[in-house]
Amino acid sequence: MTKILQTDEACELFKSIKGKARGALRSLNELRFPDFQKKIHEIKNAIDSAKESDERQEEAMLNDFYVLYRYTDFLIAYSDLWEKLLRHEFSNSWNSLQSALDLLRLIKRFSKVNIEFFESQLIELEKTYPYNVFFSVGATVEKFECSICALDIDSEDCPHIRGELYGGKMACAIARDIIDMNHVSMVSNPEDKRCVVKYEDNGEQFKLVRYLADFISQGNFNISDFGELKFSKKKQLNPEYKKLGRNDCCYCGSGKKFKKCCIPKEYIDNDHIDIVFSPKSIEEAVA
């Protein structure tokens, strides 16, 4: 059987954390956010005390601790996201969603912890937001400093590779001495999806996510029940359509006869989205 973490000790610790995480998610389903936070605090304390009593300080165990802390961070971001969403703070909830997704990527990269439920749910949730164009900055810098050894991470003197774990710490590249800002581009695939055009929380752009939030806050479904969006087209009456005689001049201003122009446009295809809720147990979510 594949181990979900590198060490047996961490696997055991995760088992106990999972029970607490399930309890926390039940609180979240009942929209009891302070209870959720209390339970997450207990999880964090359990990891802290395990780390303090770990005398061996071996690489594998320290890297497992890194994953467990990121799991806790994920749960916090996940709760934060739903809390903001239900309060109609949609712009801010987008940032929390991106934090939660970033944390899932780390957990997936460094462990085999089952995140399937959260991954599927949050990818669907991302589609309810109006963002599909992002800003990406290009700049030149003197060097990138390694967050672990403070040397130039691109030099051979630094033994670390960015994005990898060393003794429970991730090597990150810190941009030092920015020389100039070269450009800002608009892209569909940015490194950071937080760089977006900001919309007002009460704007039309958040119609779908607002509908979802209201549906949950009115108690129709639990947070964990949301899992899928189905996109389709539906025929709807064209509000601009005017019934005219076949040989009349078309209402759209094209100068053509109605029969040669807008006669077939009485109904138009409109985007339609079904929000699919399928009740599932917390045991399924935190497998």
Binding site: L106, E119, T140, F144, I161, N182, S188, N189
Partner: protein, 163 residues
């Protein structure tokens, strides 16, 4: 709505000024060199961020291949979610398919942890000596790992036909 649909690029172009590449070959090298180059609206020669990392990754995962990183005036930080690899000069013991295979493995490693539906995309350029035609050529590529595999297959097939 997709606003900017990226297009794949897979092209071979003749190199106008290959003096730097010829100098490199003159030093009887092996493996490949990571080379800074000009970037629009930037003074001096730049390396994209992560170039040194890529070299370290190759040294660790393909130690039989020698890698040198030439010094850049500065480093370019791009915040798009794509991998921008620096221009490389290939010595005679590293063919384009070998180099592309290294990149494919590097991408695979870097993409661990990506979520469902997220796609990798890489930009790379390599200058090599086409011994048959006796000229220096530049291979430019932009695409995902599937397109990269197609490019590898195409090059291998060409090599096979040439043999």
């Amino acid at each position: 709505m997709v606003v900017f649909e990226p297009r794949d690029i897979c092209e071979l172009v003749a190199v106008d000024d290959d003096s730097a590449f010829k100098n490199y070959l003159g030093s009887d090298p092996s493996g490949f060199a990571v080379v800074p180059e000009k970037y629009p609206d930037c003074e001096g020669h730049v390396l994209p961020s992560g170039s040194g990392d890529f070299a370290k990754w190759v040294k660790r995962n393909a130690p039989e291949i020698k890698v040198q990183v030439n010094k850049a005036d500065k480093h370019l930080m791009l915040r798009s979610g794509e991998y921008w690899l620096a221009l490389v000069f290939l010595a005679s013991d590293v063919t384009i398919p070998v180099y592309l295979n290294i990149v494919a493995n590097y991408l695979y490693d870097k993409m661990k942890g990506t979520l469902k539906g997220e796609k990798d995309r890489v930009h790379l350029s390599a200058i090599y000596e086409d011994k048959k035609e006796g000229v220096s050529k530049r291979f430019n590529f932009e695409g995902d790992s599937d397109s990269l595999q197609k490019a590898i297959t195409k090059f291998k097939l060409n090599e096979f036909m040439d043999d």
